[in-house]
Symmetry: C2
Amino acid sequence: MAGIVTASMPVWEVVNEAAGTTAFCTLNEGLGKVLRYGAYAPEVIERLRWMRDVLGPALAAALERHGPLDLRSLIAQALQMGDEGHNRNRAGTSLVIRELAPFLVEDESLPRARVAEVLRFLHGNDHFFLNLTMPAAKSAVAAIADLPWSSVVSVMARNGVEFGIRLAGLGPRWFVGEASVVEGLYLPGFKAEDAARDIGDSVITETSGIGGFAMAAAPAIVQFVGGRASDALRLTQRMYAITLAESEAYKIPALDFRGTPTAIDVVKLVETGVLPVVNTGIAHKEPGVGMVGAGLVRPPLACYHAALAAFVDAYDERARAEL
Amino acid sequence: MAGIVTASMPVWEVVNEAAGTTAFCTLNEGLGKVLRYGAYAPEVIERLRWMRDVLGPALAAALERHGPLDLRSLIAQALQMGDEGHNRNRAGTSLVIRELAPFLVEDESLPRARVAEVLRFLHGNDHFFLNLTMPAAKSAVAAIADLPWSSVVSVMARNGVEFGIRLAGLGPRWFVGEASVVEGLYLPGFKAEDAARDIGDSVITETSGIGGFAMAAAPAIVQFVGGRASDALRLTQRMYAITLAESEAYKIPALDFRGTPTAIDVVKLVETGVLPVVNTGIAHKEPGVGMVGAGLVRPPLACYHAALAAFVDAYDERARAEL
């Protein structure tokens, strides 16, 4: 369930009602020169001001009358329309537009020209829904942020230098490895030499079982991240080897509606050596430029080995103590 | 390219600019109790009046400022979002909504409450786009309505009793067989005994190479028409055996972006015995009830045999005369 909080910067507030966990996320600015990839040119700042002054309040007012968005339903529908919830979000964005458009129109306090501006911005930004799938994923895995005895991966994140994970059974401890080089496609004017290493929080989508894990639902994504459509199917299928469950909400039509592979078990991962598949945007290595491409990346195995070793250390003693 | 003509009943006007052919279609009313499936209850008539008085003029005014819709681009995008252009149209409908919404809002002559009504109607009718894919298909095949020496099927249509086809090389002559029973899923409260035989003009989508021929793009459609997702892939693949070309505009992500099978050749069809795959709505056999389900149907082989025999008769003589 998602609402909007407006302050100096509007952010999505996403509540996992079953677990009582909440996650927040900025509104998506689009591709290319955007703050979240390190760009800060005048047009970036100007867009952020417009998002603060026009987009945020308009969405907040529409949601006030509409009620919170049902993200589980929207993500489930988007996965049946060629999205995977990380780098292909055209369907989810479309579903949000068509659901909120009547409520935006009915807001008499908003001039019609402003409503049209908001609808054009949303129409022009197919990644808008990404900033709803990320906090949806975060609010889901937040439920296992501290779950004793569980070897499930509760967080994955990267900062361009290191890739870090947490395990449910080990709470806030980080286990890190070197951030990987992303293999992908570049926006016009950019090439592999421009790229920073793997960076950002968006891998929380894969942590929760969508994004790269749901790529079989989104074969057209290979036009954006590279590879062949058959790879998309294969990559999802491989993820069942390292996960404990299949989603009851998120189904993949091309796999005869099998649930997405969910809950990465570090034991299975280390046993099989199969690394999570992550699709991701690529940031320029210099500050100020922004997003330069998108691709596929595999996390470093080292962090999972370290996490499993720490897990065994912690629980081996506790298990002995309880015997 | 699509515009709206408003008269007593608004209809889409779809122009195939390359060939100079035009096709028309009513606006889609939705599922269930709708005129096009034979329902005529007061609420059916009331909806049609609203479509005449509110929806048609609103869309016409929006399109006046927007310019014609680029249907080739919209259908191509929809096929990458889980539509196949006949019985799954949620993506296409979403794309039309997001493209036209700003223009609907900017129409100051339309009260805001009316704009919201229009947007809610579109949001509530995932089949809205069907009445754009049908005339798009018709305007495409109209280009070969009279194409000497061609054994390509230029029209398929059915009326609940007979299934009829035309060949490009034989102009307006009909070749008919008995309309088939549709295998499918039924709306709540209805069952197979209620069904009319295969009926309607919508099979023009398959004639042009989308609909059933593009089902590999739309595995989620099996929830509406029955079968398994793997059937959707298999059925499209089989259609390459009876078609002459692969679409350069409409690509199927799950087949590594292979073009949809296009231009049914009656020679190949009769040689292989492979019948076109058609997915379709099911009408109640009694007048006044409307649509009761949707499913898959295969046309009768007899009409293709008759057409090929007539084709050989016609061109065998001409070929001899020209020697």
